[in-house]
Subunit: 84 residues, 2 copies
């Protein structure tokens, strides 16, 4: 079994109003040192595959097709083998 | 300037219907090897702080107070210094 951790983030050029709202919340709590906040998605996949390469291919394909919107978002991931 | 990357995940004992829905979507696309999906949040913070320890303290505190629901969620983070 393999475990992939996918992070989906908004592209830098895209405004992130949710992040701005969270940043304002932090300032309201007194954390003025927080200068920027960007919110993304984190997706953890357990994948049954023959080898790590196959698990990475599945991760890349589902990320492109389902998890990330290629117009507005980027994604990155890591894949590790797990003891069954 | 420091950059913290926070991952907020549902605790293992909490059901994740959103993850289940995504998993069904993957199966519909033919990716039957995906055996489990868990969805979380990813938050990237840019923090102006005197040193890395101070940036980590801010990250931990805002994660506990604002980003994660301690009843249902866990969080982890990394903090790195960035060139200004």
């Amino acid at each position: 079994m393999f475990r992939s951790k996918v992070v989906v983030t908004l592209r830098k050029s895209i405004l992130d109003p949710q992040g701005k709202a969270v940043q304002h919340g932090m300032h309201s709590l007194g954390y003025d040192g927080v200068k920027n906040v960007r919110i993304g998605k984190f997706v953890e996949l357990e994948i049954d595959a023959a080898n790590k390469e196959a698990a990475e291919t599945i991760t890349r394909e589902v990320s492109e097709k389902l998890l990330a919107n290629p117009v507005m978002e980027d994604f990155s991931f890591t894949t590790e083998e797990e003891a069954r």
